[in-house]
Every structure is written in C-alpha cells, then in structure tokens.
Point group: C2
Chain length 653, copies 2
Amino acid sequence: MTVTARPADLTGGRPVVPSRGALRPLGLAEVRITGGFWSRRQHLIGSATLDHGRVWMDKLGWTGSFLRDGDANADRRGREFTDSEVYKLVEAMSWENGRQPTPGRDREIAELTTLFAGAQAADGYLHTAFGGPGQRARYSDLSWGHELYCTGHLLQAAVARTRTTGGDDLLTVAQRAADHVCETFGPDGPAVVCGHPEIEPALAELARVTSEQRYLDQAALFLRRRGHRSLPPHQFGWSYFSDDVPIRQAHTFRGHAVRALYLAAGAVDVAVETGDDDLLGAIIEQFDHTLARRTYLTGGMGSRHEDEAFGDDFVLPSDRAYSETCAGVATVMLAWRLLLATGRSRYADVIERVLYNVVATSLGDDGRSFFYANTLHQRTPTAVVPDDQEQLGFGGGPRAPWFEVSCCLGNTARLIASLSAYFAAATDDEVHLLQYGDAEVRTRLADGRPVGLSVTTAYPDSGGVRIRVTETSGGEWGVGLRLPNWAGSGATLTVNGVPQPVSGDAVGSVGRVVVRRQFRAGDEIVLWLPIHPRFTHPDPRIDAVRDCVAVERGPIVLCAESLDAQLDLDRVRVDTAVLPADYAAVSPAEHEKNPEQSTVSVSAVLEQTAPAAWPYGDAAAGGARTPTTLRLIPYHRWGRQGPATMRIWLPKT
Amino acid sequence: MTVTARPADLTGGRPVVPSRGALRPLGLAEVRITGGFWSRRQHLIGSATLDHGRVWMDKLGWTGSFLRDGDANADRRGREFTDSEVYKLVEAMSWENGRQPTPGRDREIAELTTLFAGAQAADGYLHTAFGGPGQRARYSDLSWGHELYCTGHLLQAAVARTRTTGGDDLLTVAQRAADHVCETFGPDGPAVVCGHPEIEPALAELARVTSEQRYLDQAALFLRRRGHRSLPPHQFGWSYFSDDVPIRQAHTFRGHAVRALYLAAGAVDVAVETGDDDLLGAIIEQFDHTLARRTYLTGGMGSRHEDEAFGDDFVLPSDRAYSETCAGVATVMLAWRLLLATGRSRYADVIERVLYNVVATSLGDDGRSFFYANTLHQRTPTAVVPDDQEQLGFGGGPRAPWFEVSCCLGNTARLIASLSAYFAAATDDEVHLLQYGDAEVRTRLADGRPVGLSVTTAYPDSGGVRIRVTETSGGEWGVGLRLPNWAGSGATLTVNGVPQPVSGDAVGSVGRVVVRRQFRAGDEIVLWLPIHPRFTHPDPRIDAVRDCVAVERGPIVLCAESLDAQLDLDRVRVDTAVLPADYAAVSPAEHEKNPEQSTVSVSAVLEQTAPAAWPYGDAAAGGARTPTTLRLIPYHRWGRQGPATMRIWLPKT
C-alpha cells in the first residue's frame, strides 16, 4: 500500500478520505461531470428526487418526528428507522449543494439541522422512537431498533455537509451523538452491537473529519464485538446480522446484504486507518468470494426476499432476484474503499457494473420513483403504482414513488449527487480516470503542480473516450485509464494521434494503462473500448440460468422486454451461432437523440409450448420453432414504457 | 356426479363424508392398513409422535393456555395460533384412537376436552389469546389473529372424535363454538373473513356430522365474503389471504399455499352439499392450473419462503423450494374431496405423489422430528438440531423436534393416523382401491351385500399388487384399481391367473380398470405396475431446472445425496443415453430387510469446475469430465444419515 498524504483540505467534497492507500480520492471540487448518462441523472436528483423525498417525509410525519413533544410520542409515525431516511436525504442534499450550491438548499439543510438539534437529548442521544416518554427504553432492542444505524446516517450526513460547506451545526449535532455513543458503548461499555451495521463506517469517517481518534477506536471496538452472537436468537440466524462469526474468520459475505456490505465498508476504513492488513485481507477475501459466487450479472447482491439476504453460493435465481438497490449502493461504498486502498481496477469495474445495472435501473425517469428490488426476470407484467400511493413494506414490486421502507431514495440520491468523486483518483503524480463520462478534472499533484483534464465521450453508447490535457505546469506526470475487464484485450489507444501499446502482462493484471509524459496543454489521449454486443455465459453451477445466455454491451447488461406481455418471453430461444448486433433499425440520428435507447438484436426462435396437465414428463419437451429477431434493450431501461415482462437470461436454442 | 347415499352411520372413521359424489368414502372401520410403508408410519405416529407433541405443548405452555385464569393472561406463551396445534393434536389422537383404541389415549382426549370446555366463554367463544382481561379484543385482528382458524381446527377435532367414538363433550364444545361463530358472523354480521381459511371446511364437515344446515350456510357465507379485500392492506397483498378476487373469479391458487388450499377444500365441500357445480368447476380449474404450472415434481406447493406462497407460473426453483409440509397435507385434503366428487383418478395420483414425496419426507425416522419445508436442493450440509431445541419461526432448516410454528406435526399426524380412509372408496356396487399397500377392506355395497378384500404387496418397492376376495355374498360387483398416470400403458392384470386387458381409451382416460364379475371368496386379482426407474424431464418454462433431469421410480422421486458433502453434487452431469437402473449392489436379501432403502444408479460424469473471479464469461464453461456411477435414493430418505447435501434435478451431460 502506497502511503499518500492526507489532504490538508478537509472539504473539497470527498465522500471517503483515507489517510493512506494506493489512490488518493478527488472530490466534487476537483471533478465535475459535465454531460452524458450520469449528468442527466445528477440533474434529476437535484431537480426532482430531493424535493420528492422531502415532500413525502413531511407528509408521512418522518421529519415531524423530530419536532414532537413528550406527550405525543406514542403517535410517532413510521418504522424505527425513519430518522435515517431524513439523515440520508440531508446527506444527499449536502452533496448536491456541494455540486451545485443554491441558497434555498442551504437553508433547507440548516432548517433540518435545527430540527435534529432540537430533538437531541442533553447527553447527545438522538432517536425519535426510543427513550422518550411512553417509548421503549434506549437500546432496549438492539436487533431491530436501528438506533446506532440511524446515528451512523446522521454522522454521514454531517461528514457530507462538512466536506462540502465546512463544519456547521450539523457537525456539532453529529459529534454530540458520536460522543454519546462512545460514552455508552466504549471499552467499559456492554459488549453489544447494533443489529444493522452502519455506525462503523460513519464513526471512521467522522474520525477522519474531526481527527478524533476515539471515534475510530469505537468503530474498531464495534467490529471486534460483532460475530460473538451477542444479539438474541432470531429465526433468520445470527448470520443475518453478520453476528455469527468474528469478522476476520468469515470467508464470504452472508445474511442481510446491506448489513454485511456496510459492515465490510467500515472494516476497510478501520483496517486502513490502523494499518491492519489482516483485516483488510479478510474483507478482500470475502468480497472476492462474494463476487465469484453470490453476485448477479448486474452486480446486484442478495437473492432472497424473506431476509433480504445473500443465498448460498450460486443460488442466484433470476425469478424474484432481490438485488436490493441499497445493496448496490453499499457495494459501491465497499468497492470504492477497496479501490482506494489497493488500486485494483477490478473494484472500479464492480462500481461501473452496479452503477449502470442496479442504481440506474432503480431510478425512474421522473426522479420520483424507484425499484426497491431489481429482479432479473419479470414473468407477469409489472403493476402500475399511483403517484400518491405508499408501498407497504419493501419487496419486489414496480418502481414506486414511496415505500414504507424507503431507503432506496436517499441511498440513490446521495450516491448520484456525489458521483463525480468516483470518476477519478490520483497517485502522487498520476491522475487516474476510473469511470468514463463527460467530465472536467482539475487537481494538484502531490508536489503541488496543478493539472487538468477534459473528458468527452458518448460512453457507454460508444466506446470512444477523448481526454484533453487542459492544464499542466511542466514535468512528467501520468494519466491512468481503466481498462474494464469486459473489454478484454480489445482496447486501443492513441496519444496525439499516435497509437500506443495497450497490452502486456502489466496492463492486463492491473486493468489499467498509464500514459506518462511531459504533457502540454492540448495534448489529446483517445481510448477506444470495444463496445459491441457480446454473449455472456453463466457458471454451470448457477442452476437457475443453466443453458441460458445473456447479452452485454460494454458495461450494460441487456434484456428482452415485452410490453403488455405481447411477446411470450418464456418461448424465446436464442441462437448463439449468430452474433448479436447493434439494432440496425435505429438510425444514427435517432441514436443521437435518444442515446440510452440503443438496442441490440439477436437471432432467436419462438418455441411452441404445448399445454400439459403436469409439467414433468418422459421426454424433453420442445415444440415447433418459428425464427424471429429479438430486440434487446438496456436492462436499466426496462419497465419505463408501461406494464412489461422482462428477462435478462435467455435460453439457447 | 353420481348421487350416492349418505351413510347412515356417522361414525366409522371417515374424515370427509359428502352427501353425494362419484365415490363414497370408506372409513377406518372398513379399511385397515396391515403392513408396509404406511403401516410403519402409522405405528410411528401412535408410538412416538403424539406423545412427543403433547410433551412439547405442555412444556411450552400451549396446553396450559387453556387453564389460565384472567390475571395471568398477559403471560400467555406462544404465537396466536397455538390453540390450533393442540386441536390438531387432539384430532390426530382421535383418528389414532379410532384406528387402535386404547383407554389411555381415550382418557387423554377427554382430559384435553375438559381443558377446552373450561376455557370456553359463556357465549361459546374459545380462544386463549383474545378477549380475556388484558388481551386484545375478540376479532380485533382478523388478518393475523387466527381466531376462526383455530375454531376450525377445534371443529375438525370434534368431527374426528365423533366419527371414531361417537359424540361426546368435544362435540358439545365445538358446537357451542360454531354457534357463536354463526351468531357473530351470520347473514346480519360483518362482511369480514379470517386471514387464515380453515373455518370453511370445518363448518361444512360439522354440518355433515350434526345435520345443522346453518353451519353449512355459514361456510358458504364466508366463501362469498372472501375476495372483496375486506382485510386491511398488507405488504403481501390481498392475494396472500386469497382475498384479492372472489373465489369463482380466480383462475389459479395463489398467495399463501396452505390458506389457498384449505379454502379450496371448504369450497368443494360447500359446492358438493349445495349442488353448486359452477363453484366446483372453478376449484377444479384452479387446481388444474396449479398442478400444471405451480407444483413441484414432489407434489409440493408454494415456492416462496417470504410469504409461504405460490410463485408465478413456472417459478419453481429447487434451491430453497418451500414446499411446506402443511401445504402437502392441505393438497391431500383438497384432492381427496375432488376425488370423491368426480371420481377422477388423477386426484388419487396427486395424493400418492404428495404422500410419498412430501409427507413421508417431512416425518423423521424417530417420529419426533419434521421438515417444516421440503426443499428440492440442499447445497450446504444440513445442520444438526439438538433434541431439546425449538426452532424459531418456521422456514427451511433441517428436520427438527419442534418449531415455534409447529403445524407440521399435527397435520402429518392427523393425516397418517386416518390414512387408511384414503386407500379405498366405493360406488354403489364397486370397491375402488385408490392407494396400494397391505390392507384389509370390508364394507357393504349399496344394496347391503357385505364384501371384503385383502391386499398384499411390496409396493412401492415392487409393482405387484395381489388382491384376494375375502368376502362376497353372490351377485356381480366390481373391484376398481387405480392405474397411476406414471405407469403409462405399462400395467398388466390377471384375474385368477388369467390375463385381462388393461388398455383402451376408457381405461386411459379415467386412470382406472374395473374388474366386474360374480366374485367368489378366494378369487385373486394381480395388478403389475411397471415400477422401474425412469428419467423425467421438466417443462422448458421452469427455468430453474432447465436442461436437468430427475429420476423417478413408481411414485417415488429419487435424489442424489452426499453425506458430509463428500461428493460435490454441483459437478454431477447425468448421461440420459443410459437408462437408470435399480442398484445392483443391493442384494434381494438386503432389499427385503430394508425395503425403503432401495436405490437406483445412473451413469454420470463429474465435471471439473475452474475457479473464476467472476462467474459470467464469454464461453459456456465445462471442464474435464470423469465418468462415474451415481447412486440415487428415495427423496423421502434424504437427510437421515447425518449432515448432507442433496439434489433431485440433475444437469444432463
């Protein structure tokens, strides 16, 4: 691990600021997304999602919970964790305000901060569902109370606010809450943990913001205390809470996916700050195992509805795939920390896959609706949800304006609002582009030299990425370009029009090419990634998609969609002898207008199915076949044109 | 529908006594199981299961709930539906006492009846979790309170007691409870339903026992009231409660499997008693749809853990297949009613499949442990559960001595104790054998002639069934023999050694052959069913088992089991070019000793799997293959020799 300097400037809009690592993160002040796929979504978050969230949280009384006096406590509305939704919204508002400050948003954050401060107890405790008159006692239900989980999201909101605007009252509230946690659960406190991890990465990040060692120590203490079955027995088992075995002894993520991933993110923070390479190695091993055996093609994690949990290895059914949106956000949190720590491009690949195929799938075109879960196979047409209807619980319905458990909104919003920070990072004298999109990068190298890059691209519709040096003050430095694993050895590169080698073991093993030279302003690097549709085959141990194939195009997973179930997707069989092709019926002009609509076609047959009274028989079935051409669309586009059926994995002929 | 006489004798041990139908049921007094597969299990229920259930229900306070005085009500232990477990146990005890009366069991039933009577309110209401001091009000939580559900099981216990021993105090308690239900929810009562159906078939059967029309009317009224979304919204949707659409308008079973099946059983009862052929037709259509698209190879129903529910059509993953034991019992309840109403042998096939592959699978060899759910694929070795440990909730663990939700014990026990009643039925002048096993049948034809049959067979290990006429008083009559659908056209038949035709459309369409003649005592019919292992292929729309094959032998579904996961079942590929064979290494003598252990072998390969960091790639994987012979065992035998992995569906080479 390369030791990189701790940035003197605590602001600058970095979500995560480790004191050491292979890469130094850049912040919202240094990287701006200026156009394209993610710019459109950032606009949506700022113009629709945040206000939508605020309106609903006011309407449902979730913000009002902070205002209530003692007498009315019995009427508090919503589940135990609604405070955390308000905090996540404030975190998202803070990133958005860092990206594009407006006085109105600034005022809103300040108002909400005043609410929080007013609800905080004298000793720093802050939770609207416990400890008040007529309420259950503080920390009386560690499994399900979500108290420390909510505190964690408060801390993360304060970190975002501090890193974008500087410390203010929100940081004060957060520190008082963190101090209370340290006093209650410190080394002499009870050896217990919160059922839902989140306080761990939050305390670690607050320690980085405040330089308060005891927050980091407390995070480390919570990590050590987990895995000893201190939580009461539950039908989901201790694994649900990652409380079944100590974190260093596990070999894979298991149980509730979001819990496991938040915890792992906190473990990486602690490992990096304390130089605990054993712990870091344990998390890397667990993540590797999870990626190899417990992850959907989309990058989605968690296959089970019942407990929102990972299944056993290779239990990845497309039907009712859970693939919770928040697990996607948590995967990005974890992968980002590992990317900074190790520099392995693989983690940027994971982030890319999850962004395009989980996060972008969840977010509705109006910015006001979300998939809570992201199934890979929809057999009956999705329902239509009225704009004003809250969905009870969570689960597997269509994109909906609101859920009783509405974490997907805040999580999606805080990630997308801060997304430019995930686009680039630096070493001492290199700027690495980790995600591709129209962007401006301006930063200083370790020795203080200012450098700037301008990226223009139609990625991911096209594989061409043009990088222009906009600022340099002489001397050699480098521009690193991620070579996505899906690109194989197909990438090509020119610098000022001159082809450069993009091959060899060095490049292949790290998934990156670095152009080093004495750049001049105006120098131009062009990277071509081989974006053309390709067939993808599953590991044979994934029974649920045996003998099926998926089609991917660059980082985009494609799917077949049938509006109003006009095409029976259960009858489709794809002929893999004919390569998939970009859909010819879309003209270049049309494509330009609606870049994200780009489609792919595959050669297929429709197989007749015979009605049978019993679906098991003495011969492998297979009726008459009619040739057809099947049009595929990006998976993240599905379910946007009305009730639809959908499948990603397509049986082969 | 043939109208058959209502049996004058209300006792005789018949679980269901419709006043008309294609077949007239026989009771425990007319059919005795004398040996073989089910005799062993009947012995287990009588010698172990019933006492085991009583001990646990006493230990956990479930029986004690009926004893409690007002003050202690707040401390009532267990879930809202524990009363129903005690009732189901009493129902099972009653059938067992009818099968094999003992003074001790009789006393135990009387003692428990005294308990129930003591807890019953003056107006007939009886439930230990509602309506008492400090408890929630009666019927204040129709969705989850299970009050009418519990009452239903009380009624069914009283029906069993009355039909085996004659009416006693238990019938009085039940009638008082039923009267209270009719008074509370009668035509002028609220248009509501209980979240868990069960009161419907119970009221219908109590009406048959007591000739009280108003019980039947109340059952019909509850049926009419369901499907109008009178229950409050819930995240599982109204379909969970079968309250989404009126029962006549549905096209398939859906939602919670046990609820849907209990309700359908009640609907058949009402349809038959009121001559409502439309209603009967609707249930037949829904059951047909469910069998064709929502049923596992084992006959198990309900694929989802989260809500114990049916999935969409063809969503039948083997991994974590739920296939709840109680849904199996409920399927038998429904299929039996439809078999009596229509005479279609298909329903006896369903019963056979469920008995051998769900009910027999659930029941542990000690009679003191049960599978709550019956998965079709176990990837990680089953856990070992201590004898004294209750499993929280329900769900997918190993066979366990007790569950917080322990309905599998009572349901399995009441079905197996009364199982001889499902072995045979009659028309006016025919006795039909519906299930094969060593048995004695003695009954009277409609005109009063006594007839008797003795059945000897090693079924299902062998396909030979010998039926000897033990009693006849002259004149022609018939013996009907079910031809299971799995036997295809392979059955052969002799009467007194003379081959008889077993073919033709008539036979094929009804799944039955009838030998009619002027029998003499000693006449012998021998049926040979082609029991040899066969490959079974799934409908291609069941994605989860695409390109896989299962092996069945007679009514038995087979599986591959790996003790301590010594054989990696994920690597097995079966060569279907080589027919499966009975396992040669088991000698005839061994087989005689342990008939249920009979195994089958298939030709297979073990495929090498390469470790991969990401389980999706650009080529269909498939490593080096090592030929092997794979031994299969009956599915119902799995998990009995220690921690094991298992799979029914095996990928093809």
